[in-house]
């Protein structure tokens, strides 16, 4: 029924794509020029040769590498923990029968609607009592396992693992954990990859809670960008060079895993 799309469709898509890429291009362009060049009445439209100068000034101004390391650590640890615990819980919900299973699952789903961001005050009080404010613990521990992750893995595993396989493993004497390890985990791999990527990205881009919990000596990348932007006189070449640098890791990750991102969203991965 549907005929092939014409020039109009491709034209509109191309326009949308250019709009999506332009701000990133602009960020790199400004980051590779000097402040004077950018504030002239005829700003240049091609990148210049000052990116590394600007980048090295970024490294002098803020603890950029430390922030990069912290962001990698926090996002990596959190994503891995989320995948492990959510797969375990999701497998239990999908394949083991136990009393109260449905009630507990409904509870998990209901909690997805609770905006946990609004609990920052008590979270901060608890974290300072524990002495964790200013450390990476404060930004990792709250998100080690998420309602969305549990639900997502449960939905996937219900269909991905046949009940007979679980029964067979149990008949062969596998413990429940062994069943999870040998049957559940391998089957969960595609969904687990998606969950890992989304969690990594979410933690990487988070700003509100890290701004509260961390300080400028031991920041994540988002906090460092905030510092750059807060300078007394604003050198946008410097700020945008830093912004470009901080954005590159996720863009690289996306270049390799874009397909997983797309299929994850189309399978119903929602924002947290």
């Amino acid at each position: 029924m549907k005929d092939r799309p014409g020039f109009l469709a491709y034209g509109l898509l191309t326009a949308f794509l250019l709009g999506s890429l332009f701000p990133l291009y602009w960020s790199f362009l400004s980051g590779s020029r000097t402040q004077e060049e950018m504030s002239s009445s005829n700003p240049p439209l091609l990148p210049g040769g000052h990116f590394f100068d600007n980048a090295s000034r970024v490294l002098d101004t803020v603890p950029f590498w430390k922030a990069m390391g912290n962001s990698l650590l926090v996002s990596g640890v959190t994503a891995t923990s989320v995948v492990f615990f959510c797969t375990l819980a999701g497998f239990a919900f999908a394949k083991f029968s136990f009393r109260g299973r449905t009630t507990l699952l409904v509870f998990v789903i209901a909690t997805m609607a609770v905006p946990t961001q609004l609990g920052v005050v008590p979270l901060f009080i608890v974290m300072s009592k524990l002495g964790w404010t200013g450390t990476m613990w404060s930004v990792m521990v709250p998100w080690l396992v998420t309602a969305f992750g549990v639900f997502f893995m449960r939905q996937y595993l219900v269909d991905a693992v046949p009940d007979e396989l679980v029964e067979a493993a149990r008949m062969d004497g596998c413990s429940t954990f062994r069943t999870f390890w040998n049957v559940g985990l391998p089957a969960a791999r595609p969904a687990a990859a998606i969950l890992w990527l989304f969690t990594f990205m979410q933690v990487w881009t988070d700003f509100f809670w890290p701004l509260i919990a961390l300080n400028s000596d031991n920041p994540t990348l988002q906090i460092v960008l905030n510092q750059l932007q807060s300078g007394y006189f604003k050198d946008y070449s410097l700020v945008l060079a830093g912004t470009t640098l901080a954005t590159i890791p996720l863009l690289v990750l996306f270049a390799f895993t874009g397909r997983q991102f797309v299929s994850g969203i189309m399978q119903g991965a929602v924002k947290g």
């Binding site: 799309p5 905006p115 608890v126 080690l144 309602a147 004497g173």
Partner: protein, 334 residues
Amino acid sequence: MSQRASTAVRAGQGSDPLPGPGAPDGRVRLTLRQRLSRWDAKFSPYLYVSPFFVVFLLVGLFPLAYTAYVSLYEWNLIGGQGDYIGLENYRRVLENPYFLKSVVNTFSIFVLSSIPQIVIALALAGLLNAPLRGRSFWRMGVLVPFVVAPVAVAIIFGNLFGDRYGVFNEMLGWIGVGPIQWHVDRLASHVAIATMVNWRWTGYNALILLAAMQAVPRELYESAALDGAGRIRQFFSVTVPMIRPTLLFVIVTSTIGGLQIFAEPRLFDETMARNGGSDRQFSTVTMLVYDFGWRLRDLGKASATAWLLFLIVVAIALLNYALTRRLTGQGEKR
């Protein structure tokens, strides 16, 4: 049977507390193992789902309840708990002129971002649903903004929307408009901030809607075409009603996220106070939570504000749900 039992021993070693190899009687060992296995089947699932509940209790439920508690006290960021003052914090927040202003700003930014976003996402999904060449290229392409952090988005757009040297003012100048004071004018600043949100989320929402569109049965289009419906008509009379649940989902989730907007307005601000402009013309409610709690060091007021925001979010999410059901429901009847 015995072979199976020995598999159980090997398999169980990781998690089951088994007796040592020197247990005297094979039969006793077997029943013990059976009992352990039954225990394992009965209680282990609780163990596996428990991490979520523990974490949720600690960072979800407890904080929400405790926020209500803190909001009833004088509570200093450094000094800690003070006197019980009842609903005084709520009164102070509600009487603060910036609260109402922030609520209005939050709504304004939300409306300016969500409506164009849904409309464009719907159109984009319609385009992507056609049999395109290079399908995954286009899908990945529209998703690129999604992986850029809101902080970075805000910084980049803050520059593009610059009042003096901004690219957008430059472009508007070509057609004889402006220059617009994006950081000063209230409505203009809301448009700028909404643009950031739209830029980051439109492609993402388009993919969700696209997934729903692909599940619409082909026969429906065929019979619509037989009835003489053109492509545009098909889109509005078949596609949109059929993806209604997904549309609802997208709208409700964007409500919950959109009303808590923080990073974009905060980093768009060029004044040192970072409260959403010199006259708080683009301050939002979440920014007010931060301002009360971590600049004015009044956690009681911050908690009261957080609770008020929570109530607003829930109310608007429900309202949106009802409204969207109604609107798209009419499309179905037609």
